[in-house]
Symmetry: C2
Subunit: 118 residues, 2 copies
């Protein structure tokens, strides 16, 4: 069973909608990078039990994203923030010191957008 | 029963997680601004039935936001986008024409952020 990087990202968005057991399994297996067997030991269930929990949780996380698309919306925010930051950096090369000051403020706000997005 | 503006906003985010009946009730009552009685007539259920559906849906929408907080995160994106736009507009007053060109690009990206947020 391959670990899927997307799952960690979707878990960050929708993890609170999973059941406590699902939440624990995904958290150990994906966020703490435990193996199936290690996760099983921590949770006191079988390796197959963990596998089932993880599979079901993955399907639910994808379903939430398919219904709500909020992760995709945030990803687009991050992309735009990156472009804004790059443009503001270019303005900082200007001889117009007031423009540079304003561009620095824009840069800081674009950085904040990244944080809000993450 | 007062209509609550927040519900329309939360419905835009989490509406797809409601049951089809709940979705229909909130859509008619909030988005189309039908009365309880009108909603009841369209749905072919009692006025009290609509009231119960709406109350339960409202509680669920608040619960989703409490768990996920995604509406709040998007609201902050919109706030930052507004500030970025205002700063870019100021840069457009500059004598440095290259800075102005870059600032116009930033403005367009900030506008796009609003759209992504909405």
């Amino acid at each position: 069973m391959d670990k899927n990087i997307e799952i960690s990202l979707l878990f960050d968005f929708y993890g609170q909608l999973l059941s406590p057991k699902q939440h624990e399994a995904i958290s150990l297996y994906y966020n703490d990078d435990y193996s199936l067997s290690e996760t099983a030991e921590v949770m006191g269930i079988t390796r197959q039990g963990v596998r089932d929990l993880v599979k079901r949780s993955e399907a639910e996380l994808y379903e939430y994203e398919e219904k709500l698309g909020l992760y995709k919306r945030f990803e687009q925010v991050g992309e735009s923030a990156g472009k804004i930051r790059a443009l503001a950096k270019e303005i900082c090369e200007s001889q117009d010191l007031q423009a540079v000051e304003l561009a620095k403020e824009i840069e800081a706000l674009a950085d904040k957008l990244y944080t809000e997005e993450a």
